[in-house]
């Protein structure tokens, strides 16, 4: 429930302007004034810090007993007005438009600035509650990262390829879901299933048409990686060619959050986490218990030995591509709900974090990729408690570099024998 009270409008202010400047007014030597009145539920709030900056000019003041403030400015141009939320009483915050507003002068010499106050969400949420909420979000993000990262890791382990085109395999899943649910009007669960199957087919097709012939040709890993970059670029702009540059929403995106104590999650978030966990357990079962999964790990450990011991290496790699692509497709669907939105370059936006997760866990180890993903997911979300959210990926990438500095083989990687 939001209660907001506006500040007095400029016209009302004009009636006061004839009177003397109140106690806290600063910059009275200037001709132009920005002013306002801070009230909450009809009660004046005094002692609230307000600052104005712009055009190389800075000034600050606090509201008086009537909740009023005014700051003189030298020029008739645009200024940034900031209300320091820490100086508001407990339980009161700026609810709309944020605590930083832009003010520019119209025809008059005075400009009033209104902050919309409401009952506090932000100030009443304790640090611990925020932490828990971010933690759950981070876990959700980490799990969907893991779906993509395991594919990258398995492909790297079995073929030595750092697959940049994995980004486009992620996008593919989301785009196909969009096509089948929105354009063809199928129910969402069916659209997702079709998208995952098609993703698997894409993986099979890419392996059959591009990667298998290149392996046959004996192309080394670095040229392979550059081929994957070319493929990534081509596919990405192909998506933009057909789907345009806009962002679309999948059905059900933006459902209202449900509250569980401090945690607010939408049903989609919960479904996403559930699906991720079930699928990851399935992948773990596949790798640890099935014959083909064991063969996959054998190839990942030592391809030539595996080949010598009668394992069909090409067959294993084909399965890895299909499984990896299907997982990437699913990851793309979940990423589309998490961001939220489907766009042509959504996979590429996530790719670096996937690589970070894989490297963090140890290149080529599937379970390392899982742990790395969760670390990256948690770190991205939790770091927003301390740093601005538009820098949240910076933190994760810095961690990647730091981990490599102290543990080059990654969290689960083994040290390599030299010579």
């Amino acid at each position: 429930m939001i209660l907001f009270v506006t500040l007095l409008a400029a016209l009302t202010m004009a009636t006061f302007s004839g009177g003397s400047a109140h106690a806290d007014e600063v910059g009275t030597e200037f001709d132009f004034t920005i002013s306002g009145n801070v009230q909450f539920n009809g009660e004046a709030q005094d002692g609230v810090a307000i600052s104005v900056s712009g055009n190389g000019y800075e000034a600050d003041t606090v509201t008086d007993a009537d909740g009023r403030w005014a700051i003189g400015v030298p020029e008739k141009s645009t200024y940034e007005v900031t209300l320091d939320e820490d100086t508001l009483p407990k339980g009161v915050v700026v609810t709309k438009g944020g605590n930083v507003l832009e003010a520019d002068f119209g025809l008059t010499d005075r400009r009033s600035v209104n902050f919309f106050l409401g009952e506090g969400v932000r100030n009443t949420v304790s640090f611990f509650d925020q932490f828990v909420n971010r933690f759950v979000n981070g876990l959700n993000f980490g799990l969907l990262l893991a779906l993509a990262a395991i594919g990258v890791s398995l492909i790297f382990g079995t073929t030595g390829l750092s697959n940049f085109a994995h980004a486009e395999m992620i996008t593919f899943g989301a785009l196909m879901t969009l096509v089948f649910s929105v354009s063809f009007g199928l129910p969402i669960w069916l659209a997702i299933l079709i998208a995952i199957v098609l993703s698997g087919c894409l993986g099979y097709g890419l392996d059959a048409v591009i990667w298998k012939p290149l392996r046959r040709k004996g192309v080394a890993v670095i040229p392979l990686m550059i081929v994957s970059i070319g493929l990534s670029l081509a596919l990405r702009y192909l998506y933009q060619y057909f789907f345009g540059g806009s962002t679309s929403q999948l059905p059900g995106a933006g459902m209202t959050d449900l509250k569980f104590g401090p945690i607010s999650l939408s049903p989609i978030d919960m479904a996403s986490m559930g699906i991720s966990i079930v699928v990851l357990l399935g992948v773990a079962y596949f790798l640890l218990r099935t014959r083909i999964g064991k063969a996959t790990r054998a190839v990942s450990d030592n391809p030539s030995l595996a080949s010598a011991s009668g394992i069909d290496v090409d067959g294993v790699i084909r399965i890895v591509w299909v499984v990896g692509a299907a997982l990437a497709g699913l990851s793309g669907v979940l990423w589309a709900y998490f961001r939220p939105g489907v766009s042509w370059d959504m996979g590429f936006q996530m790719l670096l974090l996937v690589f970070a997760a894989v490297t963090l866990g140890g290149l080529g180890t599937a379970f390392g990729a899982l742990i790395g993903s969760i670390v990256v997911g948690l770190f991205v979300e939790l770091s927003t408690l301390w740093i601005p959210s538009d820098m949240k990926y910076v933190g994760a990438l810095v961690v990647l570099i730091l981990v490599l500095l102290f543990r080059p083989q990654g969290i689960l990687g083994r040290k390599e024998r030299i010579g």
């Binding site: 083994r414 040290k415 024998r417 030299i418 010579g419």
Partner: protein, 316 residues
């Protein structure tokens, strides 16, 4: 310089074309594992290296005699190459210290070890394929002015030195019969020629200790002879040689001293003829199978086993 290095009819087994002059009287006291040497060049103490739970190398004490050819032998997985890597700074041990020419090498990076005059080659040859043979050789020279990034831009500072190195390289290439290939890419050489190139390149820096990791692996018999001659020449030119080898004939023919490793430990040392009779060596090579008929064994160890069997027969 051997003038008949490449023989038209390779002998079986290959032997050097010159009669090796064996150096004797290298050790003090009994020829036992870790025994002291009259004039050691390399001394290792308590060097240990584990990979995961597996102990690859655990050497209490070993000394390599100066001015002699020492062979490091042992079955597969005995830790020979790992010990090589540790001694040359390519790998770091979990514990232990070792000295070269009286200077401690613990924690010294590989490139500094090389600069001290201890040059190694690799089991899998590392000829720099897309450099010419001549460039490969020039890379071996020490103390080049032009290898400094800023001086590199001023050719007059390094041109003379470059010419000297080039002359020296050509001289060595002629000795190794590679002079006609000097402008070819190293990638175009045969496996044996690459081994020769690697050895010649190592000599560019006038090393005091040359460490060869399986110099004969994958070399055809004709070249084997010339390689053996070259190794003997190193000694006659005053260098110390330490090499890892599987070929027991070669070991017996050219080595002055043999160090035997098994499961990471030094299990025996001695004169090449004596050491082959040491029960510890036979055990190391034969393991628990020494009662079985070795002729039937086709496993990976079979090569070593049959090799040692041959050697024991030779001794009789």
């Amino acid at each position: 310089m051997s003038d008949n290095a490449v023989s038209a009819a390779p002998l079986e087994p290959p032997v050097p074309t010159q009669k090796p002059i064996k150096t004797t009287g290298l050790h003090i006291g009994e020829a036992e594992p870790g025994c002291r040497k009259v004039d050691p060049i390399l001394i290792a103490d308590g060097v240990r290296r584990t990979f995961g739970g597996l102990t690859a190398v655990d050497v209490d004490h070993v000394e390599v005699p100066r001015g002699a050819i020492t062979a490091l032998i042992g079955p597969n997985g005995a830790g020979k190459t790992t010990l090589f890597n540790l001694l040359t700074g390519f790998d770091k041990p979990d514990a232990g210290k070792w000295t070269f020419d009286g200077r401690s090498l613990a924690g010294v990076p590989a490139y500094r070890v090389a600069r001290m005059g201890q040059i190694r080659t690799f089991q899998l040859t590392k000829a720099l394929g897309l450099l010419t043979v001549m460039d490969n050789m020039l890379l071996g020279a020490k103390g080049q002015t032009g290898e400094n990034m800023f001086r590199a831009l001023m050719p007059f500072l390094w041109r003379n030195q470059e010419e000297e190195n080039r002359a020296k390289a050509l001289d060595l290439l002629t000795r190794f019969k590679l002079d006609t290939k000097k402008d070819d890419y190293a990638a175009s050489l045969s496996g044996g020629q690459r081994k020769l190139l690697e050895m010649a390149r190592a000599l560019m820096s006038d090393p005091t200790l040359v460490m060869l990791d399986e110099p004969m692996a994958g070399v055809n018999p004709a070249l084997t002879q010339s390689l053996l001659d070259h190794i003997l020449n190193l000694k006659s030119e005053g260098m110390t040689v330490l090499f890892v080898e599987h070929d027991m004939h070669m070991v017996r023919h050219i080595a002055d001293w043999v160090i035997v490793m098994a499961e990471g430990h030094v299990v025996a040392e001695g004169d090449p003829h004596e050491v082959m009779r040491n029960p510890a060596v036979i055990d190391a090579y034969l393991g628990q199978h020494h009662d079985e008929d070795l002729g039937e064994d086709q496993s990976a160890e079979a090569e070593n086993v049959s090799a040692i069997k041959e050697l024991l027969d030779d001794e009789r």
